[in-house]
């Protein structure tokens, strides 16, 4: 019977023993559900609106007459007015972006653009070179491979990757890089070397006004100006051979002579001239690269070390007829526009906060060039691409935090590039480069890019790998 079934069901349902409903609790629970429901509805509406609006926004036409998006202002590299002659004064280089001058380039120093940072430009940003660049040319080259390809100046590569450009405007020659990395884009420009006018510095060897017959005196002129005789006499002569009092007609040394990168020294006058260019390796001292002076002319632009700012000794040897050889040492400070040419290299973080710390040591006086940039990646297990251009170091291997990383072998004394990928298991790692071309100078640039981050950094380094004892 239905009634019997209902009775038994009712009796069984009594086992539920429901309590008096807690209405406030039910209201609270219902209100919470209502809030969640409305939030979900709002999110759904927002998602739908974005799904419609974003594609439309992306497809919006550009404004007439504006070939680039509004967020992509033109970057202007202004080389200023190049003028021939003079002491390497060829106009400053200014880089402006979005109407803001990034680096106020010095007006009277040639080849003076350091790397600039915090300059981000989206792909397709046109780069305009302005200034007196008659006869100049602009070339883009693959930065990492060194393969040079000519491209039009107004055709800025938009694909992600590293690019370098070489700009020659009369006396000014600049090399730099344009790096476009998704999703943010960084750009930097570095002026490397500038072919200077000849005879910026001149060492003249003339017959001494006193002393024994055949004695010579040495004078140094630089930029058309003769160094003060008083200065020549302030420092003692560095004699590398037994001192000969009768050769005192050769006087003094120049304490510090600041010359720009690429300064050419010419030696004129009588006598047989030989000399060396030695580097000072900071506090470690004493390590030098003998560079025989062939003939009577040499320049710092092509020296193995002098392209790097730093202090050097220029030791000139003079051997006059019937007289023993006498050495005179000039101290030369090779300068550039780099803000801080501190020993061990310079660093230029491209992204704020990307690079902390600095080199633990210079490359000088150590067999293995060890760089210890302390990088805080934020991605402790990120794969890191090391891209290195170097000169003078035959690369055998590269270690990152103790992990051997195979890299290709490169010939020494040739500008080369290598790319290595490694995995750093710690936010701080040590890069060790072993050079097989000992006794040579090393300089280059280490680029680090984490695959987990759009940021990339580069670290300039230079130094010297001494010869094996």
């Amino acid at each position: 019977m239905n009634d019997e079934l209902k009775d038994r069901l009712t009796r069984l349902a009594g086992d539920a023993r429901p309590e008096t409903p807690d209405v406030p609790a039910l209201v609270k629970r219902g209100r919470r559900r209502r809030t969640v429901l409305r939030a979900g509805q709002g999110a759904a509406v927002l998602a739908m609106v974005l799904a419609v609006a974003l594609p439309l926004y992306a497809l919006r036409p550009l404004r007439p007459g504006s070939p680039v998006p509004r967020t992509s202002p033109t970057m202007v590299v202004d080389f200023g007015a190049a003028r021939a002659g003079g002491m390497g004064a060829h106009g400053g280089v200014r880089v402006s972006y979005a109407g803001v001058t990034v680096i106020p380039g010095p007006d009277n120093v040639a080849g003076v653009v350091p790397s600039f940072s915090a300059l981000m430009a989206p792909p397709g940003t046109p780069i305009t070179f302005t200034g007196d660049s008659a006869g100049g040319s602009v070339r883009f080259a693959e930065f990492n491979t060194g393969a040079i390809s000519s491209r039009a100046a107004d055709k800025v590569p938009s694909a992600p990757g590293g690019y370098a450009m070489t700009v020659s405007t009369g006396w000014v020659s600049a090399t730099g890089g344009i790096t476009i990395v998704k999703p943010t884009f960084s750009t930097y420009l570095t002026v490397g070397s500038v072919p200077p006018p000849p005879s910026l510095a001149q060492v003249q060897i003339t017959p001494a006004s006193f002393g024994p017959p055949g004695a010579q005196s040495i004078a140094l002129t630089y930029g058309g100006q003769e160094i003060e005789p008083a200065a020549l006499q302030t420092s003692p002569v560095t004699a590398r051979e037994p001192f000969k009092p009768h050769l005192m007609s050769v006087n003094g040394s120049v304490p510090t002579l600041a010359v720009p990168v690429g300064t050419r020294f010419t030696v004129s006058g009588g006598g047989v001239v030989g000399g060396q260019l030695r580097s000072w390796a900071g506090a470690t001292g004493g390590v030098s690269t003998p560079r025989p002076v062939v003939g009577a002319s040499f320049d710092l632009a092509h020296g193995s070390l002098a392209v790097i700012p730093g202090q050097y000794e220029l030791t000139m040897g003079v051997r006059a007829l019937n007289n023993p050889r006498v050495w005179v040492t000039f101290t030369i400070e090779v300068v550039s526009d780099q803000v801080t040419p501190f020993p061990g290299g310079s660093r230029e973080p491209l992204h704020e906060g990307a690079f902390v710390g600095e080199f633990a040591s210079t490359l000088a006086s150590i067999k293995y060039a060890t760089l210890t940039p302390h990088l805080t990646l934020g991605y402790p297990y990120a794969a890191i691409d090391l891209m290195m251009t170097h000169r003078g170091l035959g690369m055998d291997n590269l270690h990152v935090s103790g992990v051997p990383t195979k890299v290709a072998s490169f010939p020494a004394d040739v500008s080369s590039a290598c790319v290595a990928t490694c995995v750093a298991h710690a936010p701080t790692w040590v890069v060790t480069m072993a050079g097989r071309s000992q006794g040579t100078a090393v300089h280059g640039q280490l680029l680090v890019q984490s695959s987990g981050s759009p940021s990339r950094w580069f670290v300039n380094f230079f130094g010297y790998v001494p010869a094996a004892p």
Binding site: N2, E4, K6, L12, A16, V27
Partner: protein, 161 residues
């Protein structure tokens, strides 16, 4: 105003909803939770519920569907989990409880809605979102099972109302 109407609804139907849910899920705690969830949903959609002519029907519909889902979930998990605790209180009608437990959740819900809550085939089909023919079939299956398990006294139970 809103809270007063909701409070009245609770006092009128809460116990019956909880008992109906208990008949389906056969678990007191689950049944009470289903009842609370049902009334929380009622408050959530109070703007619509208050306009309904048959608010109790809506409540039973929500509760029965929640109970069916809950039974299915419990059945699923018990295949892989610990068996039911043996210290559960003895039901007041163990034979009927055993037969109900042996039915499928849908059969159980149909019997409860129709014979405990006195809902028609059409109302049951709406509440359970099943066609009337399906409801009749489930009712027949459930009644047949009751006859088999509970004996001849149930012979006169009809599945048509």
């Amino acid at each position: 105003m809103e809270q007063a109407g909701f409070e009245r609804l609770c006092h009128e139907h809460y116990e019956r909803v909880a008992r109906a849910a208990f008949l389906i899920v056969a678990d007191r705690e689950e049944a009470l939770d289903i009842a609370q969830e049902t009334f929380a949903r009622a408050y959530e959609h109070w703007g619509q519920v208050v306009k309904m002519h048959n608010q109790a029907g809506w409540l039973y519909k929500v509760a029965s569907n929640l109970a069916i889902s809950r039974v299915r979930r419990i059945t699923r998990t018990r295949h892989h989990a610990e068996p039911v605790a043996i210290d559960a209180p003895m039901p007041s009608d163990p034979r009927l409880a055993a037969v109900l437990a042996a039915l499928s959740p849908a059969q159980r819900a149909v019997l409860v809605l129709r014979f405990y809550l006195d809902m028609s085939v059409d109302a049951t089909s709406v509440a359970l979102r099943k066609r009337p023919g399906t409801v009749r079939a489930l009712t027949s299956q459930g009644i047949a099972r009751l006859r088999d398990e509970l004996g001849a006294t149930w012979q006169e139970v009809t599945d048509e109302r």
